[in-house]
Symmetry: C2
Subunit: 282 residues, 2 copies
Amino acid sequence: VITNDAIVEGVHFLSADPPAEVARKLLRVNLSDLAAKGAEPYGYFLAIAWPRGFGEAERAAFAAGLAEDQAQFGIKLLGGDTVSTPGPLTASVTMIGWAPSGAMVRRDGARPGQVLMVTGTIGDAGLGLKAAQGFLEGEGAEMLAARYRTPEPRLGLHDALRAHASACIDISDGLIADAIHIEEAGKVALQIDLERLPLSPAAQSWLALQPYPSGALVELATSGDDYELLLTADVSAALPLAMAAAAAGVALTPIGRIHEGEGTAILHHGRPVLVQKTGWRH
Amino acid sequence: VITNDAIVEGVHFLSADPPAEVARKLLRVNLSDLAAKGAEPYGYFLAIAWPRGFGEAERAAFAAGLAEDQAQFGIKLLGGDTVSTPGPLTASVTMIGWAPSGAMVRRDGARPGQVLMVTGTIGDAGLGLKAAQGFLEGEGAEMLAARYRTPEPRLGLHDALRAHASACIDISDGLIADAIHIEEAGKVALQIDLERLPLSPAAQSWLALQPYPSGALVELATSGDDYELLLTADVSAALPLAMAAAAAGVALTPIGRIHEGEGTAILHHGRPVLVQKTGWRH
């Protein structure tokens, strides 16, 4: 299983983000791609273009971030290319992982009658970007910014995903945008119940202050960078999946259903909610 | 076999270079890496950052260049990432190829007594860069510029390389710089005889006008972007290698020997030549 993701300073991360955290996020967004395939990571190639103003100390911090996550996830730097650029810091990772032959989880297997589930909590990274930009303050702002800067790839679920998930995708563009990818690939209809979205205490506190809960929930479900897994499975598989998630220390929450037809319906307490912008496009 | 190379506008290619040729060169430098390993290409991942001023027509021309060489070399675009950048055009290719298990050619196998050989002709791309920049005119200038813009990966030699080459590298930094890579990896000493360098008619014409032939030959041997193969083999393998090269329509020229010891000696008619800068570093 091979993934390839690129990042550009000022587009995918803030110039003020610490270099070590940029490096870790670059690895983690690729690791998250592997997690969604039920794959286990092996190593990666890094192509990086250093800007002229990015000095020895920043490069060392970037390398230290890579080293930290290489150790944490048991992956190796296999090769790559280092060049200079007159433009912004630009980096591309090609990550290689393994899954048993035929066991890789695809995004096109959702079937009518199945349930839609999501790991962890949704919307923290979107709020965290606001916090990192200084637009959100108070209790929890630091945790939210950390969720934006350092996503947690859900690699611990590979056995359960291979055994039970009919489709899976990692949420990078936003919950609704990525749900639509599952809907379109599977040629099915989806229903997402916004009141079932798993929210962190910090996101719940933020939600309680918003005048329009439906709109605020849509905002959480369309902000990107969650890097949680969105998956579909038979109803009978929900229990073994939940047990595997619990063993891996990750929440797994049913948030909707698969139906015959097409389209993704967004409901709040049973009422359709209008979504104007389904997610974030870099 | 996996290779990864990145290019940046203004660093690795000229802003005035046609987009289709930039795309083809990006594929070809990676294909050349595979050729040096005795590998056959399968497909590639492309991470590309489009500058804001790079419009629809330029992107279409770039894509047409990719399509042309995909067809020519029988490779597929397997995936990748497309992002925008406020900086220069930046692109990274991760190319995947195959070689039979254990048959991949490495760069560390040179042994004392063996011969050093090179494919094609040396120095054309260095002169071609001057031609593309308008610093070199006259007969042959267009051919030289084409050699700079569109290198020819020497993929036709994979069977012979697997069977006979003890070490191989493709020349990207410059003949001498890449020879030093073989020397250092193999823990041997190299001798390169400058008068044996294979030169194109255009390079021979240029050489005839230079006041100091030794220095001019060093210039050709240290300008980069040749993308020819530099390899070592037993003396007894020189004939089968030459026959395989002839069958593939590529010249293969012995240019030196491997000795015990360390260091790379550059000789011109038996006399040592001082080399101040061994090659080009991007």
